[in-house]
């Protein structure tokens, strides 16, 4: 089994699916000759040619709009937006058209496509190469929102995304692109949309997270372990739809919940998870649900490390929930 990092896993998965499915096309900025600024599409132009690996002009509404038109005609585009921070010129396309085509046409015009985009902090990218704005998309009915946290999941989720009949926003934590290597089976497999992963079992506190924070949370769980707090770590993987069953089963067991994400706290997706739990599992709760999140500021450059939730910050919330 090859040991791959996340970029390699994404690259290989795109390549395999392109081989399997002649209607699959990739489009985006610098994805062809340059192989993408993170190299996720390296080598694909050579294998599949410029009609299937399309270097587009520098225009996000153009990329997403064009991909929608391709998809409606029966191609299966995977669009790359260079950074999530630059998706906003295409926000109208995504929110007004991509998410609503199927619904507004009464099912006549479903759009099957994937938007891949790197997101999150940790690379010293400042305000505009670091943000985690998944909640804009989870607040849009019609979209599926996925985010892997390791190479194995990246492949399995991307396969599901590319075969999904619904439009998928596929958020790739760029800080983990090259930091974790993992065995990734060469054969075809997929991870179902809407299924969380139980990263670690524990019965004292439930820690819920996704994407780039999964690694940080692992460290926090280890720190808590030294204090004999057994934390159950859940990686949602799929934000919309989310796996309420796994969450509730864990909350019933622990009665204490911490949610960690990189995005700003107010109106972050953690608020939604928190609300779902309190609506449905009030009787199981033995402590208030706590959120550890980015601060409610724009994403700072120099103080990035302070802004991003650290294992220690998460640990403090775990303790607080545990000792409540």
């Amino acid at each position: 089994m090859p040991s791959l990092n996340m970029v390699q896993a994404v690259n290989g998965t795109l390549r395999d699916e392109m081989r399997r499915n002649g209607n699959m096309v990739l489009l985006g900025e610098d994805i062809g000759r340059n192989g993408g600024v993170f190299r996720a599409t390296e080598g694909l132009l050579d294998e599949f040619g410029p009609e299937r690996v399309v270097d587009t002009p520098l225009s996000e509404d153009g990329i997403i709009g064009m991909a929608i038109g391709m998809a409606l005609y029966g191609l299966q585009p995977v669009a790359e937006i260079q950074f999530l921070d630059f998706i906003y010129p295409a926000f109208n396309q995504i929110v007004s058209d991509l998410a609503k085509f199927r619904y507004r046409s009464g099912g006549q015009y479903p759009v099957r496509m994937v938007v891949r985009t790197p997101y999150g902090g940790g690379i010293k990218g400042g305000l505009y190469h670091s943000q985690s704005t998944e909640a804009y998309f989870t607040h849009t009915p019609g979209l599926v929102v996925l985010t892997p946290s390791n190479p194995y999941d990246a492949k399995g989720l991307l396969v599901s995304a590319m075969r999904s009949p619904d439009p998928v926003i596929f958020l790739e934590p760029k800080r983990l692109y090259r930091t974790i290597k993992q065995e990734v089976p060469a054969e075809d497999y997929s991870i179902p949309i809407g299924k969380a992963s139980l990263v670690q079992e524990g019965d004292n506190v439930t820690l819920i997270t996704w994407g780039p924070m999964v690694q940080t949370c692992r460290e926090a769980v280890a720190l808590a372990g030294r204090e004999n707090i057994r934390v159950e770590l859940i990686d949602l993987r799929s934000l919309l739809p989310f796996d309420l069953e796994t969450i509730l089963a864990s909350v019933e067991k622990t009665g204490r919940v911490v949610i960690a994400h990189e995005a700003a706290k107010i109106s972050g997706f953690g608020g939604e998870i928190s609300a779902q739990i309190s609506e449905r599992a009030m009787d199981s709760l033995r402590a208030p649900i706590l959120r550890v999140a980015g601060y409610d500021t724009p994403f700072p450059y120099a103080l990035e490390k302070v802004y991003l939730p650290s294992p220690e910050r998460i640990l403090r919330s775990i303790r607080k929930a545990y000792n409540y």
Partner: protein, 327 residues
């Protein structure tokens, strides 16, 4: 052609009346723009795709959409192929390749380029045709669309129905360009200016652009210069921003009158035939309205379908709760 032009005019008048009577909520007329509507859609093949805007009932008719399907959409009833999901005049008819449109102006223009790309990719002979108003040319997607179309040289025809107004804003305030057609030059392909009140001229210009696209010649931007004789929509009062003299000026250039005069002069239409045709069209519309009004509204639980291919668990919950407890 003439019959379709009459049909659109009557349809416009009737639908506005229905709106005034509170039988439909909203409508966008195309009075004065019938030559664009009919002449523009006429050269297209059945398999061609149209990314339309909300003033294109006439194009829908030419493309084989039935009057009933149009009225069903305006009423948002259970027979509407769009399942009553959108406000009036937001048509979408897959069988006729009239793609569903969104309200935000201009988003469809760039999608048309993607479809044209896909058609070329699949080596189909499909042409993609997209319509929009002069106002839409100020949107980013218009620029992106023309830019992409030029770069990828895809079989797309951009059809700007310049009716001089975007709601209240006159064309002169929409752009400092002399006209819309010249904008094509900046993107590396041809722009064509045509008298949008002359149905045969519109037909000819569109036919040439469609043929060119089909034979691999790439995109064309057509600007059909016309005039919106009615308000922007059933909610608009044009007297607030334009003079009756101006409207009179354009009334004299009414595309239907012009085509009628031409046909009569050529001996292709007698007054009697004309009257009979008008009556027939009127009857058809009245009959359809009666039929559509009998159709009930979509079932309540249809609210939750088509958000996704399959209903996710949380929508199932919401749907069940609505069924159980009512709204």
């Amino acid at each position: 052609m003439y019959r379709y032009m009459l049909m659109v005019r009557r349809f416009n008048e009737r639908m506005l009346l229905l709106q005034r009577q509170g039988r439909i909520a909203f409508f966008t007329e195309s009075n004065g723009e019938e030559a664009c509507q009919i002449g523009g859609a006429w050269p297209l093949n059945r398999g061609d795709w149209v990314y339309q805007s909300y003033r294109d009932a006439g194009m829908c008719l030419v493309r084989g959409v039935t009057l009933k399907a149009l009225v069903d959409q305006l009423m948002g009833n259970a027979d509407d192929p769009n399942k009553g999901r959108q406000m009036g005049a937001h048509w979408g008819y897959k069988e006729s390749n009239m793609v569903s449109l969104a309200s935000p102006v201009g988003t469809h223009i760039v999608q048309a380029v993607g479809t044209a790309y896909a058609a070329k990719f699949k080596k189909d002979k499909t042409v993609c045709f997209t319509t929009f108003g002069d106002g839409a040319t100020s949107q980013g997607e218009f620029h992106s669309a023309l830019n992409f179309a030029g770069v990828f040289k895809v079989p797309v025809v951009f059809f700007c129905e310049n009716n001089q107004y975007a709601i209240s804003l006159p064309f002169r305030r929409q752009t400092a360009s002399e006209n819309v057609a010249i904008k094509a030059e900046a993107y590396g392909f041809e722009g064509v200016l045509v008298d949008g009140n002359d149905v045969l001229a519109v037909y000819k210009a569109t036919k040439a652009a469609v043929d060119k696209a089909r034979s691999g010649g790439g995109p064309t931007l057509i600007e059909a210069v016309t005039y919106r004789m009615a308000g922007h929509s059933s909610s608009d009062d044009p007297n607030r921003y334009r003079s009756p003299e101006e409207t009179e000026h354009w009334k004299a250039r009414d595309p239907i009158k012009r085509f009628r005069a031409y046909m009569t002069k050529k001996g292709l239409l007698t007054e009697q035939e004309d009257r009979a045709m008008q009556e027939k069209v009127e009857n058809e519309i009245v009959t359809v309205i009666k039929e559509s009004e009998k159709v009930p509204q979509p079932p309540v639980t249809s609210m939750f379908t088509d958000v996704y291919a399959e209903i996710p668990w949380y929508l199932k919950e919401e749907s069940d709760e609505l069924t159980r407890e009512g709204s």
